[in-house]
Amino acid sequence: MEQSAFVQVVSKATMANHPAFASIELTYQCNLACRFCYNPVQRRGQVRSHPVPEPGAPPLTFEEIVAILDQLKAMNVLFLTLTGGEPLVHPRFWDIAAAAKVRGFALRIFTNGALIDEAVADRLAELRPFCLEISIHGATPETAEALNQVKGSHVRVMRALELLKERELLVFLKCVVTKLVENELEGIVAIADRFGYSIFFDPHLYTSTDGEAYPLDLKASDEALYRLFSAKGLNIGNSPFEGTPEINCSVASGSLHIDPMGNVHPCVQWDESVGNVRNATLQEIWEGASRLVEIREMNRRLPQLLQESCGDASFCNFCPAASRRELGSPTTMTEQHLRVARIRRAAHEDAGDPA
């Protein structure tokens, strides 16, 4: 990959508010029940202080999703992520994915992998997405299934990795570092190495998009995060795509997100809707929503604001959407941001690495 030229052109687009990335949550339904899932649905065992809000509208139809694809293509979006929930459980997943391919998107499919058997792997090989990004919740069935609460899922995911490897599909693995998995990080790296896949470790947990804090109960220990940040050569973050150096992240500038009901969001974690595709075109929303303009301006000021408020800020992969949900302020570091930044800085300094 011509990484630097690619990052440069994407950065230029982001700075010009031309989104090269978009994501669609096809459904909140899922075959697993991950305890930290941030979707606004009740998974098994999640303790909410309020009932899950009603969706307020029916899910997008296949025809509406195809219309969205046409609009995203007209907006020159290149990378399209199909996510969920579990996108593969959507009854029209294959039709949607094929429609996206015909429109020239580089497809990213976020999946838990547990539904990928031989037949599904064959269809994926035929579809040829740019990549699959698969969550790994443990190096052992006990750990993975303590998180996703479905017996037998770990073995199926391991088999899926094998099937995808045989078909030479590009796979990125992603592991959210929770207290459940914190002692198995080496084992997870070994799984990634076995298949030759890159793995990304995300030290952040996100409150649910309906504002519930239960995911934070799974936070990893300080010691585990220190080990994570001290380990050499690990990818920290939740995406194989590098950010835009000039601004904090691509929220509202380089990417946009559409939920299963057609609500448009500045990113997948920003729960506030800035419009709905049933009332306006994506282009109209992207160019006309005053809230997006405010978020863009805030995001451009963020690196300086954060640096002024906390000397460790550059170590934490700050997420303004997470802060907005937890604290009501997208420019204030959460306790989790501060903790991650402090530990990561200490690990870097102890290793004698430059900031």
Partner: protein
């Protein structure tokens, strides 16, 4: 060697022109190719044929026909090697 009319864009290559530069994503080998301005013109206008492309390069970049052809052929060969162009 590139021969006009005998190649087509690979349908497994996703692409968009972003900020004036074509970005090509090869979905079989995951290669990402970011193309310069001249290459972007060639890629975008590929279906119009080499003659038309060369005229447009000359008009847009004020270069001689010989230079335009030499650069275009070199770039087209690179696209064939990268699998972005396939025989028809």
């Amino acid at each position: 060697m590139f021969e006009d009319g005998k190649y087509k864009r690979n349908p497994d290559v996703s692409w968009r022109t972003i900020e004036g530069q074509a970005v090509l994503i090869h979905n079989r080998n995951s290669e990402v190719i970011v193309v310069n301005e001249v290459g972007t013109l060639i890629w975008e206008q590929f279906d119009e044929g080499l003659e038309s492309i060369l005229r447009n390069i000359q008009d847009t970049f004020e270069v001689s026909r010989a230079d335009a052809e030499s650069d275009a052929r070199e770039f087209l060969e690179q696209l064939i090697s990268a699998g972005a162009l396939l025989p028809r």
